[in-house]
Point group: C2
C-alpha cells in the first residue's frame, strides 16, 4: 500500500502532516503495511504522475486531500483524468449533503452541489462530518481510495468505511507472513545510556526480531518488530525478549502499549479511587494539567490546578513562604515543596505535583541556567523532590520534558503505594 497526501500546505510546510501518521498506524495494524508515503502539492500533472508511479509499485493507493469544495481542490478531476472516466452526479451523495447542511442550518449552494459529483464507476463512501464523500475506485486489479484531507473527516471515513471494506475485500483467506509489533516505553533514561545498557541483549536477539529506538522529549520508545510464518512461536519469542528487557530496565519502563504516560498515571490513580490529584504549575504554564485532562474521565481524580506564573501568585494563592522565595528563589527545592504541600490543602487532594523551572529563552543565570527545573510530588504520607537539567534546547522542549518528568515522579510514588 502507498499513501499519497495532496496539498500545497504540506509541501510549503504550513501544516504538519498528521494524516500520514494516523493512516500508517491504522493500515499497519489492520494488516496492510505501508511501503511509502508521498506528499505533493495541488498540482494536476504531479497528481497524475504520482498516481501512475504508485501503481507501478503497489496495488492499493490511498489518497488524502484536495476533495474539498474550493477551487484549489483538484484531486477528483485528476483521478478522472488518470482512469479516463467522467464526473457524474450521485443522487445518494446529494441527499447526504442536503441532510448534513440542513442539520447545520445552512442552505445548499452551487459549490456544495458540486461535491455530489464523483468519478464514474467509483463507490461513494458516506462522510457524515463534511460534504466531500470518500471514493473507492477499482480498475484492472488496482484500487484507488480517496479521502478528504480534513483530519477528523478522514479519520471517521477510514475507520468506519475504508478498513471494513479493505478487510472484506482482501483478508478473507488469511496471510502467510505475520508481522507483530510490540512497543516498550521508557522514561528517565537517555537514549545513549539505554543503548549501552541493552547492547548485549540486542546482539543476542533472534533473527526474526528487530529493535528500533524512537526518542521524543523525556521518553524513549523501544519497538520490537517480529516477522515469521509461525505466529505462536513468534509471540512466545517476543514475550521472552520483553521479559528480559523488563529485568534490564525495571521501573524505567512505564508502558508496554502505545499509550501516553498520562494514561498510565490515570489508570494507577483509578486503582486507588477515590484518590485525588491537584497541581501547581509555574514553568509548565498549564501544560501538565492539559496532559492530565486530555484523558477522558480525568475528572474522576483530577480536581484542578493553580498556574502560578508570578511570585505574587505563589505567595498569595499558593502560600509559598516569602522567606523561601527570597532566600532560595522561585526555582528551588524549598519553593516547590511549599507549592506541593499547600496545593494538597487548597484542593483537599491525596496527591499533588508542583513544578517550577526556567523554560527560557530568557531568565537563566550561571547558577540556574535555562532548563533547570525543580519538581515536587506530595503523597498522603511523604513528599519527594528532584532537580532536573533539561538543557537549553527550546522553550517547548523544556516544558514538555518537565511535564513528562513530573508525571513519571507521580507514577513511581503511586507504584510504591500500591
Amino acid at each position: 500500500m502507498i499513501i499519497l497526501n495532496i496539498g500545497d500546505e504540506l509541501t510549503y510546510g504550513q501544516v504538519v502532516n498528521t494524516n500520514a501518521s494516523f493512516m500508517c498506524a491504522q493500515f499497519t495494524a489492520a494488516g496492510f503495511p505501508v511501503e511509502e508515503v508521498v506528499v505533493i502539492g495541488d498540482n494536476a500533472a504531479a497528481i497524475v504522475d504520482a498516481v501512475a508511479a504508485a501503481f507501478q509499485k503497489t496495488d492499493i493507493l490511498v489518497i488524502s486531500g484536495g476533495l474539498g469544495p474550493t477551487k484549489d481542490d483538484i484531486t477528483k478531476q485528476q483521478i478522472c483524468h488518470y482512469f479516463d472516466v467522467p464526473l457524474v452526479e450521485n443522487a445518494e451523495v446529494l441527499c447526504q449533503i442536503e441532510a448534513l447542511l440542513a442539520n447545520r442550518g445552512v442552505a445548499m449552494s452551487e459549490i456544495n452541489r458540486l461535491q455530489a459529483q464523483i468519478p464514474q464507476g467509483a463507490i461513494a463512501m458516506p462522510n457524515y462530518l463534511g460534504t466531500a464523500p470518500g471514493l473507492w475506485l477499482e480498475q484492472h486489479n488496482k484500487l484507488l481510495i480517496a479521502l478528504p484531507g480534513v483530519p477528523f473527516e478522514m479519520k471517521a471515513l477510514l475507520i468506519e468505511e475504508v478498513l471494513p471494506r479493505l478487510k472484506a475485500r482482501f483478508l478473507h483467506d488469511g496471510h502467510n507472513e505475520h508481522i507483530v509489533h510490540k512497543v516498550i516505553q521508557t522514561t528517565g533514561i537517555p537514549e545513549s545510556t539505554l543503548s549501552d545498557k541493552l547492547e548485549s541483549w540486542e546482539m543476542a536477539l533472534p533473527p526474526t526480531i528487530a529493535l528500533a529506538y524512537l526518542p521524543r522529549p523525556g521518553i524513549v520508545r523501544l519497538r520490537l518488530t517480529g516477522q515469521s510464518c509461525d505466529l505462536a512461536q513468534l509471540e512466545a519469542d517476543m514475550n521472552c525478549q520483553i521479559e528480559k528487557l523488563t529485568q534490564l530496565l525495571g521501573e524505567h519502563i512505564f508502558s508496554y502499549e502505545n499509550n501516553q504516560i498520562e494514561e498510565v498515571v490515570a489508570a494507577l490513580l483509578l486503582r486507588k479511587e477515590p484518590a485525588t490529584l491537584a497541581c501547581a504549575e509555574s514553568c509548565t504554564g498549564g501544560y501538565l494539567s492539559h496532559l492530565i485532562t486530555s484523558v477522558p474521565g480525568s475528572s474522576r481524580y483530577f480536581k484542578g490546578s493553580i498556574v502560578s506564573y508570578s511570585n505574587e501568585i505563589k505567595r498569595n494563592i499558593l502560600n509559598v513562604r516569602e522567606l523561601n522565595l527570597k532566600k532560595h528563589g522561585a526555582v528551588s527545592e524549598y519553593t516547590v515543596n511549599d507549592m506541593a504541600i499547600n496545593t494538597l490543602g487548597l484542593f483537599e487532594t491525596d496527591y499533588s505535583i508542583a513544578v517550577s523551572g526556567i523554560a527560557g529563552p530568557d531568565g537563566g543565570t550561571p547558577e540556574k541556567p535555562v532548563g533547570t527545573v525543580w519538581i515536587a510530588v506530595a503523597t498522603p504520607t511523604r513528599i519527594v523532590t528532584r532537580e532536573f537539567h533539561f538543557g537549553d534546547f527550546g522553550r517547548d522542549r523544556v516544558i514538555q520534558s518537565s511535564a513528562i518528568a513530573a508525571l513519571n515522579m507521580l507514577r513511581l510514588e503511586l507504584l510504591r503505594d500500591l
Copy 2:
C-alpha cells in the same frame, strides 16, 4: 528539491512527521521549493531505490533519519552504497563528539566512535546537540544532504549549516521567477461561509495569484500565492487583493502573518503594558494557559490560572455562587460570569478569561450536548459572555476550539479598548 524522511516509526505511523513540515517551510522560504516529500522505512533496498528515483527528478535531495548510533540506523551505509564510496573516520567529527560527550559527563563508547565515520568525499556539518554530523555530498551535479532525524538536531543543522551553504552554492546570481506567499488568518467563521463570502472576489483574482483554504480547529488560514517575473508588480497586486480581503472579512482576520492567535493577543496586551491577565479553566483543563504561556515573555502580562476541574473548586477557590451552580449548572452563562469576575479579584488582574463546557466523550445531555461551551471575558470596564457549539467531533477538538474562541474573544475586547 525532494525531501526523503527515513524511519520505520514513520511508515508504521508511530510518530508524526513534524520534520517534513519544518523542512518544507524553511526550504520554501529560502527559495528552494519542495516538489515532493517521500517517506519510507529503515529498509536498505527502499533507501537506495528512493535516492535513485529522487535524483531522476531533482538535483537536490535532503534526507533525514537513520543517522543515529543504534543498529537500526542504516542511512549512512546506503548513501555509500548508492555513491559507491567507503565510510572513513573523520578526525574533526571525532573531536566534536568527544567534546559533546565530555560536556555531558559521558565516556566515549564504541558506538559513539562509529558516529565519526562518514562517506568518503562528504563534508561533515557539525552537530552540537548530538553525535551524528550532518552530511553534504556532491557528485555529478547531484547534491545529497543527510541530517539526523531527531527534530531539534535536524532543525539546528538545517538553520545553521544547510541553509547558508545552499544559498552560497546556488543563489549567487539571482532567480528569474519570484514566488510570494501571504497568509491571512481568520477565526470565528466556518470555511463554507467564508468561501461563499469570498466567491466573487476569488473569481476576479488576477491569473498570477492563487488562493487556498487551510482549515484547522477554530481557524481558517487563507494562503495567497503569487508567481511572476515582475516582483514589484506582484507585490503591489498582492497588497491590493489583501486590502479587498480585509474589507470583506473585517475583524474575522486576526493575522496577516504565519503566527499564532496567542502571539497576536500577546502583542495587544503588551501595547497596554502593564495590563495583566489571568484565566479560570474548566473544560480546557490548562490548555488555554498552555497556549498563553507558550509565548516567550508571557510572564510580563500573564499572572496565572485556576484550573477548576470540579464544582467544589469552582465554589471554594473561585467563589462561584452555589445558587448559580445549582440552578444553571457548571456550564452556563451565570457560572462563567462568576468565574471571570472572581478571577480578576483573586489574581488582581485587568483582564480575565473563563471557560466552562462539555468536552466529551461523556457528560452531554439533550439540553447541553457534548461541544457546548460558555466563555466569559472580563475587562477593566465590562464583561462579555458567549455560548458556542463545537459539536461532538472529539475531545481534543472541543478543547482546541474552545481555547481559540476564548483567545479570540479577548482579542476583540482588547481591540475595542485600544
